[in-house]
């Protein structure tokens, strides 16, 4: 393996999380079940969910979660200043994910009051956003949660100094290769035609339509998708819900 520039053969890696469920970091831990050699290939210097040891001299940062507070921006910028490579880990960091569903509610104050009642202003928050809305991101691993195999592949590519290749074709391609019966033919609905592949079409394979957690492909035909969904029997509310479950974030939501 190439040296990392400061004499150590193993690149130093750190994991961070913001607003999220930490399921992507758990998937990383699960990846060790089959690939324990990963801890030999890199030196993990920070991973709060799993370890107490804490080093600040990392070169690669994996960041899970959305930014939902002004004060978290500083933490993100510090990570960016330290890390040579920043990788967004999972849907919350990559596209805002389910956190951005709160942005669709009538107002953020209404959301805060609904959960915290008359103490709503005790706790800070602002519209949820992907980390790329705050700092520059070098690579991303899509999905809710991330795919274990894809994570390992991205790590390998980053260690080799390459920009990780993430599929830009739709889930339908992988679903066809698996010879699944189309969810629409089974009477269901699916965002497979416009959603980025790389998950091995796991949801359709287990009988459920794609919900778009990996974000959309480049140049998706959303109008045609919506026509297909309406024809499949969705109401306007159901259609709107399907299109926004993981893809509710819109940069216009965070404009002051």
């Amino acid at each position: 393996m190439a040296e990392n520039g400061n004499g150590s053969a193993r690149p130093k890696v750190a994991f961070f999380d913001f607003a999220c469920c930490e399921g992507c970091q758990l998937t990383v831990i699960d990846a060790l079940q089959t690939h324990l050699e990963l801890v030999e290939a890199v030196e993990i210097v920070q991973f709060r969910e799993a370890m107490t040891e804490k080093g600040e001299d990392y070169q690669i940062a994996f960041i899970e979660g959305s930014c939902t507070r002004k004060e978290d921006e500083d933490r993100l910028r510090k990570i960016r200043a330290q890390a040579g490579i920043v990788v967004a880990l999972g849907a919350c960091a990559h596209i805002g994910g389910v956190n951005a569903l709160a942005n669709l509610q009538p107002s953020l104050q209404d959301v805060r009051q609904y959960v915290y009642g008359d103490k709503w202003d005790w706790y800070n928050t602002y519209p949820a956003r992907p980390i790329s809305a705050v700092i520059q991101v070098d690579a991303f691993i899509p999905g809710c949660p991330i795919d274990r195999v894809e994570f390992l592949s991205v790590v390998k590519q980053v260690l080799l100094g390459k920009t990780p290749a993430i599929p830009d074709y739709p889930v339908c391609v992988e679903c066809k290769l698996k010879e699944n019966v189309c969810i629409f033919d089974k009477g269901g609905v699916c965002l497979g035609p416009i959603t980025r592949a790389g998950c091995d079409a796991i949801c359709p394979t287990y009988g459920d339509g794609c919900e778009g957690c990996r974000g959309l492909i480049p140049n998706p035909n959303e109008n045609a998708m919506q026509d297909v969904l309406l024809k499949a029997g969705l109401s306007v509310e159901q259609l709107r819900a399907r299109m926004t479950m993981f893809n509710a974030y819109d940069p216009a939501q965070i404009e002051a």
Binding site: G23, E49, A50, M51, A102, V111, T125, C203, D208
Partner: protein, 431 residues
């Protein structure tokens, strides 16, 4: 007591899920501040569910927590099914129980081996153990893979289950898969025995503080899904009355709500279930508890990890029995629920790895969610954790500050707090 000053300030407690701080301030031997500060960013799940189709609820709320995603999905489905009057088949109930056992084992093995064990073995994480105790780490990873594969067999994956839906499953395991899994579960008995042998050797901190223990309860089984809410203070509530137990309130130092019932605090989780439902444990699990010297009522919160290990044994044995039942009955595809145009309100509850979880939904006649309330186990434990901290600090004031800090961390870690569930949680601060 000596007139010492002690300042504990643990910022972002490690080896727990989420962000929390432990702050302890002792001046002249007087405890002036003792807080578990929850600093996780709020995520507002209850608010974001409003206006969404009921079909999405279990998939959105599983995203509350990566560790107990299946528990959230199950409680969510039970709330929706109760609201809409959906009857669930025996096959679905058996599959859900089996899936749930997978999650309990998965979560407990993560906590016992990777989050707690390093404290006893004098290291900061599981990573150095891979060199010093490779057999321990490999065993942990083996059990974790087994439980993860069990979940994946039924719902597609452990974190954020796919195939479970309102009224049933969109995908069924094959008999061949069930048989192969059964074989692996039987073989894993040895790993479970080794786990108990390891736990027996650990020097559990001595600490007693009796509190009220709260969990689900059923007459005929160790309750994880449905039942009534029971407490060791002798109270019993039907699920729709859950608010009489939880009595949520807010404190400024926590983005997660606190709860109290008959006393100033109560405890949920493996130890609470053990104390309430010991009689319904599998005989092998009871025997294991006996070996650890655990008999209800256990009042040492550190032994929550011991109760988790006992539950792992129970779930392994019960999983084998569930698979036998499923194979005997034969699996068949069942029609999925179709919405009948009539909404309602429903409460669903499960005892997830960290304790009793409630989901409560109001669904309108268009099938859209109008209101939601979720009460999370870790939130229910916060007041009890702080009460434990206040009880423990005076007992250990004569020790070096480093040791005090470490014990406080271990105490909070023993609860296996899930801070992003409850919002987010753990850092110890000594001021």
């Amino acid at each position: 007591m000596s007139k010492v000053d002690v300042n504990v300030n643990v910022h972002h407690l490690t080896r727990v899920e989420g962000h929390g701080n432990i702050v302890v301030d002792v001046k002249n031997g007087e405890l002036v501040k003792c807080e578990l500060q929850i600093v996780e960013a709020p995520r507002f799940f209850e608010a974001m569910l409003r206006g969404r189709p009921y079909t999405e609820a279990s998939h959105i709320t599983s995203r509350i927590c990566g560790i107990c995603a299946t528990g959230h999905a199950t409680a969510s489905l039970r709330a929706t099914e109760t609201a809409l009057g959906v009857k669930v088949s025996t096959q679905t109930q058996l599959l859900r129980k089996l899936l749930f056992h997978g999650e309990i084992i998965d979560s407990h093995v993560l906590h016992v081996y990777m989050l707690v064990a390093p404290d006893f073995l004098g290291v900061g994480s599981v990573l150095p153990l891979a060199k010093s105790h490779p057999e321990v780490v490999k065993r942990a990873l083996r059990i974790k893979k087994l439980s993860g594969d069990l979940c994946a067999m039924i719902s597609g994956r452990h974190t954020h289950p796919i195939a479970m839906t309102v009224g049933g499953f969109t995908h069924l395991p094959t008999v061949k898969e069930l048989l192969a899994m059964r074989k692996r579960l039987v073989a894993a008995r040895e790993d479970m025995n080794e786990t108990m042998a390891l736990l027996k050797t650990l020097p559990w901190p001595r600490f007693q503080r009796e509190t009220e223990y709260v969990s689900l309860k059923k007459d005929d089984e160790y309750a994880f899904i449905d039942g009534v809410v029971a407490t060791t203070d002798g109270f019993t509530y039907a699920l729709p009355d859950y608010r009489q137990v939880t009595n949520e309130y807010l404190v400024p130092h926590s983005t997660a709500k606190h709860c109290k019932h008959n006393r100033d605090s109560y405890m949920v989780g493996a130890l609470a279930r053990f104390n309430n439902n010991y009689e319904q444990l599998h005989p092998r699990a009871k025997a294991a508890a006996n070996e650890l010297g655990m008999k209800p009522v256990v009042t040492n919160s550190f032994l929550n990890s011991g109760a988790q290990a006992v539950e792992m044994l129970h779930c392994l044995e019960d999983s084998i029995q569930l698979i036998d039942q499923l194979i005997d009955r034969g699996l068949q595809e069942e029609p999925l629920y179709q919405f009948q145009g009539k909404g309602g309100e429903g409460v669903g509850s499960c005892d997830v790895p960290r304790g009793t979880l409630f989901h409560d939904y109001i669904i309108d006649d268009d099938g859209l969610i109008q209101g939601a309330n979720c009460i999370i186990p870790t939130g229910q434990n916060y007041a009890n954790m702080e009460a434990d901290m206040r009880a423990l600090v005076p007992q250990i004031l004569d020790r070096p500050q480093e040791e005090i800090t470490h014990l406080m961390e271990m105490l909070i870690r023993a609860y296996d707090p899930c801070i992003s569930c409850s919002t987010h949680f753990l850092d110890v601060e000594f001021l």
